[in-house]
């Protein structure tokens, strides 16, 4: 498990997200507080909505299309919806965001 530096924490707006493009789709890096980040797949399991454009609240994100709420710790959909999004290990070190390389080094489905 090795970590890849993808940017400074201040490049991600608070209560917002920015995208990381990979071969198997986009990963959204969410900044839920001044020094707290989560990484999860950008695509909602319901109809593929862009989670990076969703409302970030507490440690959850709401999909902008149909209001599915996902807990960013487990990736599980909250409330009456059932589904989950993949979450990836991410950490902060000296203000730099480090993403685990398992998210990035997968090949696209051939």
């Amino acid at each position: 498990m090795s970590w890849i530096d993808i940017g400074h924490i201040d490049e991600v707006p608070q209560r917002g997200a920015r995208l990381v493009k990979t071969h198997i789709g986009c990963i959204a890096v969410f900044r839920t507080a001044e020094a707290e980040v989560f990484a999860a797949t950008n695509s909602c399991p319901h109809k593929g909505g862009p989670l990076s454009e969703g409302i970030v609240h507490g440690q959850s994100v709401t999909c902008p299309l149909h209001n599915w709420v996902f807990d960013l710790n487990s990736g599980e959909a909250q409330g009456a919806d059932s589904g989950r999004i993949d979450t990836y290990p991410v950490r902060l070190e000296n203000g730099r965001i480090l993403l685990d390389d398992s998210a990035v080094t997968q090949r696209s489905a051939a």
Binding site: I4, I6, G7, E11, V12, P13, R18, L19, V20, K21, T22, H23, C26, V29, I97, L99, V104
Partner: protein, 104 residues
């Protein structure tokens, strides 16, 4: 209802000068017209001859009117969204892109 045909103000040799004359007349109207009066109403009150004397014949006055007009419009030319695009557009792009292959 007033139906009027167009009245010639003046003829000028270049397009830029035509724009200048329009700006000067607009500024004279903005300064002199009564609130809610259309341009033709103001023109009827001041008279075409007066407008010609102010804008067509008196070049110094025309320049002064144009500069006052430009000053008034300068405040409306600020575009906060365009400035946001110019300064912050990069911050909406992906923070990292792992799909790029190194050139062999």
């Amino acid at each position: 209802m007033d139906v009027k045909e167009t009245e010639l103000l003046c003829q000028v040799p270049t397009e830029d000068e035509a724009i200048e004359v329009v700006m000067a007349v607009t500024q004279a109207y903005r300064e002199g017209g009564k609130y809610l009066d259309r341009l033709y109403k103001w023109l009827g009150k001041v008279g075409m001859d007066w407008v010609k004397a102010q804008v067509v014949d008196d070049l110094e006055n025309r320049a002064a009117l144009v500069s006052r007009f430009e000053l008034s419009q300068s405040l409306y030319r600020k575009d906060p969204w365009a400035e946001h695009v110019r300064d912050k557009a990069q911050s909406y792009a992906p923070i990292a892109d792992f799909t790029l292959e190194a050139a062999e």
